[in-house]
Symmetry: C2
Subunit: 337 residues, 2 copies
């Protein structure tokens, strides 16, 4: 008897193999730059930085810079320094976020501030952020520097917005999208755009790659927010349920609160607003999310953004980097970690 399969499973599962193979020599050079530039005569700096950076298996954001630059025709190595700078900006924001959120786990490891203390995490974040700008100066492109300086500022604004609004039960989906555009998608957008700009691409192509990066980043964060209610901690490298325990108003939670009706209102006020939670509350929330379709709607929206990201590459013609970046958009939605 034939087993019924979900349509998505019947298709070829998205894979990053083509992209990773194309990017392998460049990413080996980026890794060497990262390693060299995290060094410092002050021993705690490379130790703390390495703890976090070595835990990053995918290096998606620098990969995006390299792929955008090569797709746009880059022949030199300026994009490699920009890619390393992008990873440093990302790592600096992770270090500060974990202090701000008092997170326990990051990339499958104990959060750095629990080992070295919050002061060291704050200051090593500052070190990496400054190093990022030194690398950008080394890349020599003032327009790329402008894009990444602006992105760094927008990310900080998004983090502050999230901090001041995240526990708001009446947060609109529009403000939620503003937050994830700023705190996550902006760096994806800037990573791709700065790669294109450093390759001397036309303004149209720079805009197209920025759009690809931004939509990919939104899809990526939507899936991240869904996985916090459906993922497995061994896969994720962090604890599912963290967002719920912090009362963070992400899209799955906003949707389930809107759809579960007045009967549950008291439940949300207690668990999200007052953050008085029992061990069973998270499981009950996950169950309500499945029942109301809140998780599926979040993933559907992510799929829409991935489709839009792929469409942004339409004008690039035959180039092996293009289908590889299309795979990345599919992968961002289908991933389970």
């Amino acid at each position: 008897m034939a087993v019924a399969t979900h349509p998505a499973v019947a298709e070829k599962p998205p894979s990053l193999d083509a992209l990773l193979t194309l990017a392998r020599p460049d990413m080996a050079a980026v890794d060497a730059l990262i390693k060299r530039h995290m060094d410092s005569p002050v021993p705690v700096i490379p130790a703390l930085a390495d703890h976090l950076i070595a835990g990053s298996a995918k290096r998606l954001r620098p990969l995006l810079t390299v792929a955008a630059a090569r797709l746009a025709g880059a022949r030199d190595e300026a994009c490699l320094k920009l890619a390393a700078a992008v990873e440093f900006i990302h790592t600096a924001t992770l270090l500060h976020d974990d202090v701000v959120d008092s997170s326990q786990l990051r990339r499958g490891r104990v959060a750095a501030h629990l080992i070295w203390g919050a002061p060291s995490s704050v200051l090593v974040g500052d070190f990496l952020f400054a190093r990022a700008f030194e690398l950008m100066v080394g890349a020599g492109s003032m327009p790329a520097l402008e894009i990444l300086a602006r992105a760094s500022r927008v990310i900080a604004e998004g983090e502050v917005l999230q901090l001041t609004r995240a526990h708001d039960l009446d947060l609109s989906q529009e403000v939620y999208l503003d937050i994830i555009k700023a705190k996550t998608a902006e760096l994806f957008a800037a990573a791709a755009e700065s790669g294109a700009v450093s390759a001397g691409a036309s303004p149209d192509r720079c805009r197209a790659l920025r759009k690809y990066g931004q939509d990919l980043g939104i899809a990526f964060q939507l899936v991240d927010d869904a996985l916090d209610y459906s993922g497995d901690s061994a896969d994720l490298g962090k604890n599912p349920g963290d967002d719920f325990r912090e009362g963070k108003a992400t899209l799955p939670l906003l949707l389930v609160m809107a759809r579960s009706g007045p009967a549950e209102r008291e439940f949300w006020i207690r668990t999200v607003d007052r953050r008085e939670q029992t061990a069973a509350d998270f499981a009950r929330t996950c169950e309500l999310m499945r029942a109301t379709g809140a998780l599926q709607s979040t993933l559907d929206l992510a799929a829409d953004y991935a489709t839009s990201a792929k469409a942004a590459l339409a004008d690039f013609g035959a180039n092996p980097w293009r289908p590889a970046l299309e795979d990345l958009a599919d992968f961002a939605v289908a991933r389970t970690a």
Copy 2:
């Protein structure tokens, strides 16, 4: 009957009047840039930034950028954006330092993290740091950007070094000087050097202004460390005795520990190493500092660096900015707040 006066009092007291008069139009423009660039659609950002920036009466570091640029012949306004960037870098490090040190008071006001919380202070610091780089991009000088990116990294290294070594009773004076060169003097050096570079000054003159800024910064920090044992909280805008309570190994403390002999060894182990302090311990320490000359030696060293700073200006010839900067070096040593 004639009253005996201290030789230093007999001289004309150093004044910043000439410098402030020369710089007035430029500093008004810098203030306007600062005001405009601390703005953000996220309300807590300008509120928190303004709390700290409005408390800064002197704006010494941006003043240094403007003065160095004008002394080096700058005719355009690029130095004003760099000066605003320098103030933002400084403010960002103050915000992060106060979180790291759990300071209570800054520039005569309650520390920002006690009003808005440590997370907001960390993130608004990141915002200001990113804004600094946006301003530098606007100034358009890649060499100036390189100098200030490097300085930002060196400052972070100095802060981490201080964090990991500051409570070490056996800290050498050499490591103490390394710490203050990095955490304080580097920004003074970079402020002056970037101003000179943006003015298109010769490499010799850029080096001379860097040297002036570095020696001025060392003198400034030495006096700061002395004032923590001799100043008045109303003048200082922060609490004297903070360094002692934190067990921070600054030069006055290193000198008094070295000079007070084995009889006091137990006192230092209890108060500095274990930080078990009674209300009378700080007064006793101040008394020992006066008796051993530890405070005077610190101020004498500051005066030596101020002399060296002035000597670095020797080749600049007749230019009204030169005596004004010489006054600044004298002021840094003679100040009581």
